[in-house]
Symmetry: C2
Subunit: 343 residues, 2 copies
């Protein structure tokens, strides 16, 4: 048995144990009857079986050292949890029910002990929470850490909610608080995370909680005409939704559910409105609903706050009305890994 | 539109153009009726629709700079082609028909021009050859290049061939030549790739050709009891197949279809038998067939050479009989990224 096989067996065993299931160990996947995963880890590929009248929804997401997390700032449990939460947010974004995931893991040799165990514990915590199981994966040795996840969910055939369905007059909604994750990151980066009371500000950054049940509810009842998750910031993501739908949007600054910034940080120039407009990684939902159905959207559902922030317009581009009534373009200024690139 | 969105649009457009199809451009995926891909790139997730009585087969594979390829030695077209060929080999390994793939691409900013175009041309070449289309993906900026592919194929329900089905008495077969890819790599690393006549030795290393049609034929006719691809070398992969099946194996050295090593390299100590036993990256198939059905396996099919090399035994472990008749254990000495790891 190669060292790689031993490592893979250890990963499978730990993830299975943390789920309270028997690990497959070194034996390749016995066919399963109960789950949508007809063949799990241990073979060259996994096999998915769609339930009748369901379609598979798939997304991939890379969570990378020094791009998305920093080894000395983020605990391995946090990294594992967040990797799967971020990826699963893309399933929530189309209204799918999460089912399973592939784990593509590359890491340095010296992290294959306790650090890896911590990572797997975090992954398992998220998997339990979202109702997912390991379907298979791939490992390699590298200098930096990369967690490449492919996540699988399912929807009733034809009910996945796309970015492209927004129509003029539709009302625009967001879930949760905007800018909360970015605020948590700012606190962590400034080293003020150990101050009393700062813990609750960190949670949205280190432990995002995508509103999966809400996404499914919106899809099931065909309430949302368009939907996506807020991963790169409202200004960037709303622009994407509008481009995909061939429409414009007009939102009200005063309505944005901006995360509250503590006084100490406000004095240092951190602005709640700027965070709400451009802050990334909230993993909340952005969706549109026809005007006639907007009354069916509650202000809170399953503990998730839902806020109407504006409406879809016939033109192009997104404008924002200030509290004073002035209207200006909302320029996309969210997260862009290639921002300094000439293309 | 962010720089990242522009980059993604460029990737989609180039891959679509190279397939001779209209790109989706910035608009998110219109639902498709003709293909198994109900929703393609451009949204938060893609949607797969299984044909009646078919199951989805999925695998992921990371192709990494300085682990699997070297930027100054391997042209971007080669890297793109090989990334998809390697990943698709896992679909051949269970007998699936390739359909589509997710492209997770991380690369430095200075490679997003011509180098990226070359990579995409190579990917498109492989996609055309294997009958695959882009389903979606993810990009990020990093220092090193990583190509993370998730590949999707389908099989008739219940016909995927696993590693675990080999039974004592089954005959063991391999396709192609063994060690040919490793030989090509040795020639490239020694800088002797520009010598006349060396080009044909490089092909198995830079342009692997997994026998996809053969894998499907074996699965469709239920001829193979167990199957996997040869990615890390026969000694390592046969050991994996035996462990998964709970059996042993006995193979004949004289029967191994070893790649021919040129005289100049033999003098430098490169041994054809060692390459055939332990050389990685051949992306050929290893499979077992019940004795009573072994006569149905031709020596060549669709241009792919097929060789019987031994049989499955009741015990544990793999033994190899030398040409002189001596029997010894075949220790796994193939590729192992974590070989120097204490676990």
């Amino acid at each position: 048995m190669t060292k790689e096989d031993q490592l893979i067996a250890r990963i499978e065993a730990r993830l299975a144990k943390l789920r309270g299931r028997r690990a497959l160990g070194g034996r390749s996947g016995a066919r399963r009857r109960s789950s949508s995963l007809a063949l799990g880890p241990g073979d060259d590929a996994c096999v998915l079986r769609a339930a009748p009248d369901r379609e598979w929804v798939v997304s991939c997401d890379a969570f990378l050292e020094n791009v998305h997390f920093i080894r000395r700032l983020h605990a391995p449990e946090t990294i594992g949890y967040k990797a799967l939460a971020r990826a699963t947010s893309d399933l929530a974004a189309v209204g799918a029910a999460p089912r399973c995931f592939l784990l593509g893991l590359t890491l340095p040799s010296n992290l294959t002990g306790n650090w890896l165990d911590g990572l797997l514990d975090g992954l398992a915590l998220a998997a339990r929470k979202f109702g997912m199981e390991l379907a298979g994966g791939d490992t390699s040795r590298t200098e930096g850490i990369a967690i490449n996840l492919t996540v699988f969910g399912d929807v009733r055939s034809g009910t996945a909610v796309l970015r492209s369905g927004a129509r003029p007059g539709d009302r625009i909604f967001v879930t949760g608080q905007l800018g909360a994750a970015q605020l948590g990151l700012e606190i962590l980066l400034r080293g003020s995370s150990r101050r009393p009371g700062s813990r609750r500000y960190l949670a949205p950054h280190i432990k995002p909680d995508p509103p999966i049940a809400l996404g499914q509810w919106l899809a099931r009842h065909r309430l949302a005409t368009a939907m996506m998750d807020l991963s790169d910031g409202l200004s960037t993501d709303l622009d994407r939704l509008c481009r995909a739908s061939g429409v414009g949007a007009r939102i009200q600054e005063a309505r944005l559910p901006a995360a509250r910034v503590p006084e100490s940080l406000r004095r240092k120039g951190i602005d709640a409105l700027k965070l709400a407009r451009d802050g990334g990684e909230d993993y909340q939902l952005l969706f549109t609903v026809p005007e006639r159905a907007a009354h069916r959207i509650p202000r809170r559902r399953d503990g998730v706050r839902i806020t109407e922030i504006g409406e879809i317009t016939r033109g192009r581009g997104v404008t924002i009305d200030s509290a004073a009534g002035a209207s200006s373009p909302l320029t996309p200024r969210g997260w862009d890994p290639f921002a300094r690139l000439r293309t």
